[in-house]
Assembly symmetry: C2
Homo-oligomer: 330 residues x 2
């Protein structure tokens, strides 16, 4: 196997560049999807505004990637007070042709409740590339105006915001000096995170997800360099190893540190599941919820076949493979 | 909840129609993806032709939806003799603008081996709607020229073909008479399937997957009717309940029968995983395989960080979120 690898070094670069081209197509496809779906999302918003608890019911049916983080106390406020949920590709809204389709925001709207004052909680996610090799969704902590004694995150969200603001104020020195000493605030946060009980933190800690701190400028620079290298390789030029430009290997430890300080490390997975699964398929999830309810209702003149539950009622979608329009998600 | 349902009967139809429009967009997006990716797949085919065992290594990394069906004996022939794998959207190849993007074929190419004579095994999948409410991928059994005493499916594949041919020859009478009696061949097949050991059948039974027997004509008719109804509803006309046109409820039992006679019921899930996951992401899977191998190789002048394995070697993709170009698949 070692021989095989030594015999085919050039293919890694070619494969890598081709993979980038495949990713470029995936990004363009998100753009196309946005353009074609715009009128449908508008229609849907009008329709669901007339259906009470539409989004609460959809969220109740959410796939495990979201559901596993919803604690019982979270469920109380989410399922009883969520009045609307929106995913917006804000960069595309600004510039349909050139905006990055991978950036999006999630907007939760709530009715008055005993936990917090906010009627709207919004969180933005940006696709960024960092100098140390990171590529993915980053965000910033969003605080919530908790009512007295009702902070479901037990102070974690506020701490996350404080630590983030601190890092923004002094990032460069910290990284260059290979900071191993945490600040006081960071120590407090790290300690509090490690003290979290076995049940896990509140779903509302999702609003504290950061990922990595990467500015738009740094990201644009990194992407431009990558594209330049790719162009040169495709023109047959020899290009020096990307790794030589990357930060010292030891900086990779910073990522572990970052995770230690992130109050909700899987925030990007939850965000993407909301944006790419829950949001596009909301009607299917709502229908699922309705079907479950119908099972509990007795129809006098309708003999229900338990195994064919998906076909009970009026104008029901056909029983099989309703979610397989472009691929089974069984 | 029952009140809520009775108050909003009209929304089911509107939601259902809107969902159909969303699905129409998904289908157009598959078409777009095909058009944009064509040159990339051509480039990739040229490149991987130079890399020995590319597809065998990719298949070894396959997600669980495929991998769980590969038995040890299957692994022998698959990983040692698979020389090429291709997914073709044959309807789009015929007619890029109007062909159904959901139809595809999977083509496995093999080097000479001790199990079968075939060097190419191909299986087609069509997206069909049936009168009894089925919607999904259907196929037909593909037989394999097994060498003496080497039938990995132990006769199941041949039986599946025989039963299928029998059903094609006499389908209408069977369905109309609400056939409850199985033919001799069907009884033999059903018995053989139920005798399958705990380990499950060979992966090669995948080639026997049928799903449902639905002709192209029936499907076109059903889809045309659905579209007509949808148009009327959107024009504000009252349209009679779809269920009234559907076959008697009792025919739903036929589906259980079909499953009893299908030697590989999850065939559509495997097919879709190959077409929508393995095929587009083959380079990522190959890279994964290479990274695993590198961990086993000693580099004298390269200190390997076990936890950052994804960054070892030359021109490696950045360590994090390599598969998140359009959504994390963690």
């Amino acid at each position: 196997m070692a021989d095989q690898i030594e015999d085919t070094p050039v293919y890694y670069e070619e494969l890598y560049d081709l993979e980038r081209e495949f990713e470029d197509v995936e990004v363009e496809i998100i753009r196309q999807q946005y353009i074609l779906s715009k009128p449908l999302y508008a229609k849907r918003a009008e329709l669901v505004a007339k259906i009470p608890k539409f989004w609460a019911l959809v969220l109740e049916q959410a796939p495990v990637e979201i559901d596993e983080y919803i604690q019982p106390t979270d469920a109380n406020v989410l399922y009883s007070h969520l009045t609307n949920l929106t995913v917006s590709r804000f960069s595309l809204e600004e510039d349909e042709k050139k905006g990055d389709p991978r950036n999006f925001l999630v907007r939760f709207e709530f009715s008055e409740n005993e936990y917090f004052e906010d009627r709207v909680i919004e969180k933005k996610f940006w696709w960024r590339h960092s100098k140390d090799g990171f590529e993915g969704l980053v965000s910033e902590p969003v605080t919530i105006k908790w009512k007295e004694g009702k902070d479901l995150t037990e102070g974690l969200l506020d701490l996350a915001k404080a630590v983030y603001d601190e890092q923004l104020a002094a990032p460069k020195e910290a990284k260059k000096g290979k900071q191993t000493e945490l600040t006081e605030k960071q120590k407090t946060l790290k300690k509090k995170i490690s003290e979290t009980g076995m049940g896990g933190v509140s779903f509302f800690c999702f609003f504290g997800y950061v990922g990595e701190i990467v500015s738009e400028e740094e990201s644009k620079e990194v992407i431009a360099k990558e594209n330049e290298r790719r162009k040169k390789r495709q023109a047959g030029e020899k290009v020096k190893d990307e790794d030589e430009d990357m930060e010292d290997e030891e900086d990779l430890d910073d990522d572990e540190e970052d995770d230690e300080l992130d109050i909700f490390p899987p925030g990007d997975v939850v965000a993407v599941t909301i944006a790419d699964e829950l949001w596009p398929n909301a009607i299917k999830y709502f229908t699922q919820a309705q079907d479950q309810d119908l099972d509990d209702v007795d129809f006098e003149d309708f003999e229900e076949d338990d195994e064919e539950e998906e076909n009970s009622g009026n104008a029901r979608p056909p029983k099989k493979h309703k979610r397989c329009a472009s691929g089974c998600k069984h």
